[in-house]
Subunit: 329 residues, 2 copies
């Protein structure tokens, strides 16, 4: 039976791997499949968040990218996962594989930038491993924490909840934002500790793909207001979301499918929704936009225009292993 | 300035990286440079052990190696690090990068074997990440625990302590043991909880290299009894430790420099030493051998024969990045 990964696609591969028995994991609240694994310790007031991410030359950055931006992206990806659970980052390990001809200054730049971003959020690089490899490949692991039982997951959303997104989406590769983004740690902690969010995820695959993860985990559907989706100026260039760009795509499609935005996508209960935006604006300058609401049509995303007419939007989020749509390299 | 990694060598690269500021890491007891990072939580009765290890095709296993042995090695390496600190493993994350043409059955075999070994020690695979890559590369991350303040480190050894090693050393690549070894979790927990060991490390670089880590961290030297070092039959073939093998090396040199044995190397205070071996043998069938003692000559390893005559042994442990001595691939 031909079951090459490139035929199955990343999502099917992950679905199958997470269905395997993984050993008895005492105290696991949320296992593989959310942004972080959530594990509890008996009698403790806190749960632990565990997450890992790769940053690989030719996949997550192009050869020649400045070392500091590579290190920033590595810790940024980890912290974005922790932010999506409403967590506080604590410790980071970095494994690096590099060709022998790499200059030490490259590793130094990566580690310095990684350490700077960790420090900004009160965390630290506490270990790791080095080995030889054909190209520069980094793997980061991070531990974070939340008060016991309070981690934001993908599974808490209900029909009727409003859908929000931070910042602006699309064009992250063109603009270089996929290397320089700020993980939304403060925002995630606030959404969790003030009880605003019923579910949350960070946008790595693209708005459509990551919203689909919430819909699947929560057993709901979504109506997205196409005109409301905040598209970054680098792709919209002032166009409306449904006016075609020079590359033939709609600005909306860039926001839905480009990926690597590392913004937060989250849902808010309708009873709390009327107070939400003013509360947000009291605390954060960062843009935060309501882009739709959840329905009972499990796993279905419906797109509507300003006057509620259905739109036919198709597209595919990035999936590792599949041939075709390239990401960075 | 030419500072290619292959000129500096792995040990110098690690020395420099661990000297960089890594961000404020609250509660760090032991940072980069030991087998695990040890982190504490205020008010908690336990410290956490964090460790990461890569297992990469062509570096840590040859192309065509059975998937189950790759998965076993990945978790085995992580647990061997935890064993060296006297810890109990809890949770594992696995990042996998693989070419698109990889059959899913390969990943499945890796994850099943990883889960089996985790389960054997009461731990679980709780998450990870998948991405495309040119060759199969796994990065594992594990969390373990010890009672607060009790982790075995490389730094607790004193002049006069006796040096012990578990099992037999050398020829791990030839025999395939580097893929199938058993992490010494039970032994590590016993050495820590019964207060036997003053320092410990697992043997990954080779006895000489890993003993050097203890000597450096503890500020001591060592006298090694060349005849006492337990050499695996696959290299000694019945020869004495100082009788040359067909490959021109001494069995002793294989034990000192081959590496990837994943046995425990530890030290015992001389006052406890007379009770140690009988206590060990009451609990474990595994061979455990006294191979020498520690001196005040910081960082110096002296080799002696059966009658105490000095031997001239030179050799080099494996170092990533350096050209020359190949390991697996």
């Amino acid at each position: 039976m031909d079951e090459r990964l490139e035929r199955l696609g990343e999502r099917e591969v992950i679905r199958r791997l997470t269905a395997l028995p993984g050993g008895e994991a005492g105290g696991m609240r949320t296992g593989p499949g959310d942004d972080c694994a959530v594990v509890e310790s008996p009698g403790r007031a806190e749960d632990w968040l565990l997450t890992s991410d790769p940053v690989i030359e030719g996949v997550h950055f192009l050869p020649g990218t400045e070392a500091e931006r590579i290190g920033h992206k590595l810790v940024g990806r980890l912290f974005s996962d922790i932010a999506a659970m409403g967590g506080e980052p604590l410790w980071v390990l970095i494994d690096v594989a590099a060709p022998g001809e790499t200059q030490f200054g490259v590793l130094e730049g990566i580690y310095r930038a990684a350490g700077d971003l960790a420090e900004k959020y009160g965390a630290g690089i506490v270990g790791g491993d080095t080995s030889a490899g054909e190209r520069l490949a980094l793997h980061g692991f991070a531990v974070g924490r939340v008060p016991a039982g309070t981690a934001l997951t993908r599974a808490g959303a209900r029909a009727g909840d409003r859908i929000y997104v931070t910042g602006e989406l699309g064009g992250s590769l063109q603009s270089g934002r996929h290397l320089d983004f700020e993980p939304r740690i403060a925002e995630g902690i606030w959404l969790r500790s003030e009880g605003w969010a019923s579910s949350a995820i960070d946008i790595s695959d693209g708005l459509a793909g990551d919203l689909a993860h919430i819909l699947e985990s929560s057993g709901v559907g979504a109506v997205l207001d196409a005109a409301a989706v905040p598209v970054s100026a680098v792709v919209s260039e002032g166009r409306g979301n449904l006016e075609r760009c020079a590359d033939g795509l709609l600005p909306l499609e860039h926001a839905l499918f480009d990926g690597e935005d590392f913004e937060l996508l989250f849902t808010v209960h309708p009873e709390r929704e009327r107070f939400f935006i003013s509360a947000w604006q009291n605390v954060f300058d960062l843009r935060c936009t309501c882009i739709g609401y959840l329905t009972k049509k499990a796993r279905v995303i419906e797109y509507v225009d300003e006057v509620g007419r259905a739109l036919n939007i198709r597209g595919e989020s990035h999936e590792h292993f599949r041939k075709g749509r390239a990401r960075t390299g």
